[in-house]
């Protein structure tokens, strides 16, 4: 691993082999474009859409049941149609994507913080604490994370904070395992031995000398994790065990629209789901590229 000085970072990146592979990979570029797009939509979208879907007084029942403009009966300004309460679907999707993305990103940050800390401790100190943490991880890994999240949410009840807590408890394991493994191998290197010789405190060694070396894997893991958390949240919300109905995420919109799917109002439930898929697809394309980059065997 070459040491990069801060000022040179972008120049070095632009000249690197990875960057040129990135520019050549259509899939990775598509992923990057999607991720940039959905981020922009979440940030500036609310200023562009026709209504605030949370403001019930802005909704008019007379606008209800409008299909998207490309089908018969659709009218402007409801480009993607309206739901059974007269809510503009495009506005609902834009606002909903903010909730979904927030939960995906915040959940990943929390899960990674917990997982990285436990992984570093486990790998660096070893012994009993390591055995304990890894046993818990083993037990947890023998259950599908979806089921654990489902169970936790059924106990905790709906709410954004509860979802974040569940995702943290579900997601830390993979971080802890990866970080532990890499810490174990980094620990043996001579420069870590050197830090011991000059008597640096453990906290500093962990933070300044070990953490930077495991960072690459953390980035790969986190990219994929954001996508998978968005899906988990969507699924929980779809089952009615996720976000509250007052600030619906994309999954909650699907749940809400599912009841009218049978009356032929497909756009109310299928369009929010389609946007979930686009978001996660973009994230996974990027994540896939990053993972292949980090695994030189497949290059």
């Amino acid at each position: 691993m070459t040491h990069v000085q801060r000022g040179n970072f972008w120049r070095v990146l632009a000249a690197s082999e990875g960057w040129s592979r990135f520019k050549r990979s259509k899939l990775a570029l598509t992923g990057a474009v999607i991720v940039v797009f959905v981020t922009l939509v979440a940030l500036v979208g609310p200023f562009l859409v026709v209504q605030n879907p949370y403001d019930l007084s802005a909704l008019q029942l007379g606008d209800a049941y409008k299909p998207p403009i490309w089908s018969e009966g659709g009218t402007m300004p409801f480009i993607l149609g309206t739901d059974q309460q007269g809510r503009d679907m495009l506005s609902a999707i834009v606002y909903g994507s903010r909730v979904s993305l927030f939960i995906g990103v915040a959940g990943t940050l929390l899960a990674s913080a917990l997982g990285i800390t436990l992984g570093l401790i486990s790998g660096y100190y070893g012994g009993r604490i390591d055995a304990l943490i890894m046993r818990i991880a083993d037990i947890q890994l023998s259950f599908p994370s979806m089921l654990i999240a489902l169970f936790l949410m059924s106990v905790l009840g709906r709410g954004v904070a509860n979802i974040l807590l569940s995702l943290t408890l579900v997601g830390w394991v993979r971080y802890a395992r990866t970080v532990r493994g890499e810490t174990l191998s980094v620990k043996k290197s001579e420069y870590i031995e050197a830090t011991r010789v000059i008597g640096l405190p453990d906290a500093r060694v962990l933070r300044r000398h070990i953490l930077p070396n495991v960072f690459a894997s953390i980035i790969v893991l986190s990219t994929i994790q954001v996508g998978s958390f968005i899906l988990t949240e969507a699924t929980l919300s779809f089952l009615g065990l996720g976000v509250p109905i007052t600030r619906p995420s994309l999954g909650m919109l699907c749940n809400d629209g599912f009841s009218v799917l049978y009356s032929g109002l497909w756009w109310v439930s299928i369009l929010p789901g389609l946007y979930i898929m686009i978001i996660v697809f973009g994230i996974n394309l990027l994540g896939d590229f990053l993972r292949d980059e980090m695994n030189p065997r497949l290059r």
Binding site: L27, I139, L150, F238, L241, C254
Partner: protein
Amino acid sequence: MFQFIAKRLVQLLVVLFAVSLIVFVLTSVMGNPVYLMLRESATPEEVHAVTQALGLDKPLPVQYGIFVKNALSGNFGRSYMYHLSALSLIIERLPATLELVFVAVLLSAVVGIPCGVIAGAYPRSLFSKSVMSLSIAGISMPSFWIGMVMIYFFSLYLGLLPVSGRGEVGVFLGIRTSLATADGWAHILMPSVTLALGNVATIMRLTRAGMQENMKQDYIKFARSKGVSRFRLLFGHALKNTLIPVVTIFGLQLGSLIAFTTITETIFAWPGMGKLLIDAIHSADRPIVAAYILFVAVLFVFINFVVDILYVFIDPRIDLR
């Protein structure tokens, strides 16, 4: 071998103990069922009587003791909603869930493995690239969404397939299953595809990655120069060595398939134990939730155990200790 199995069995018990403790603690925190069972106008005496009848007035450790004792004899209490034994309710719905999982596993093996083998053998081909993009799309879709799309397209728009339910149940080899009737197959098609989709994608990607690595090995070059046919080279030599991680994933995926039946069954109103769980959660039916989690825990631990042993048969290089 015996030592290995004994050691695994001990670990298994530890896991089950931990799970039972967690399930007990968490389910006793979950909403008070007494208020769900009574009218809103119930008097304090009535509330007290029901609390006592459910044994909820005793201290928690005592409740846990009773819980474990009963659980060991298969008694998780009566469902608050159905007034039947929780475990028997689950067992009764098990076949419906298992047939769904069975068809999904079959689909993922029959579609996932061959696609993965060919994509892995020719990684630069158009086929491989489309398989990769499709599989990323597959794991990016919320499974409930693909279910909704299929319901809309095949049932409401084309009117081809039934929207929900299990259909006619026939008897095959003494087992009552929808797989024995044509109507049952029409009903199971969409739910099982919904369930299998993510799994197919995972299996495909894993097989492809394994094939890619194996195709670079010397033994493949040797077999090729020996004049082994293309088909045997791919599906005989290379696939055999790729299968090890694939089998593990099959084992692990079996667990997550069972977990995801909760969603599939909810969408398609499939009368399995997943739907039972979701209904129970919504009505705070503690005994069913507790029984489901523990039942599934036993199932998963057992699956993992079997996969571990299978390992040894597939790959003699693995050391049991």
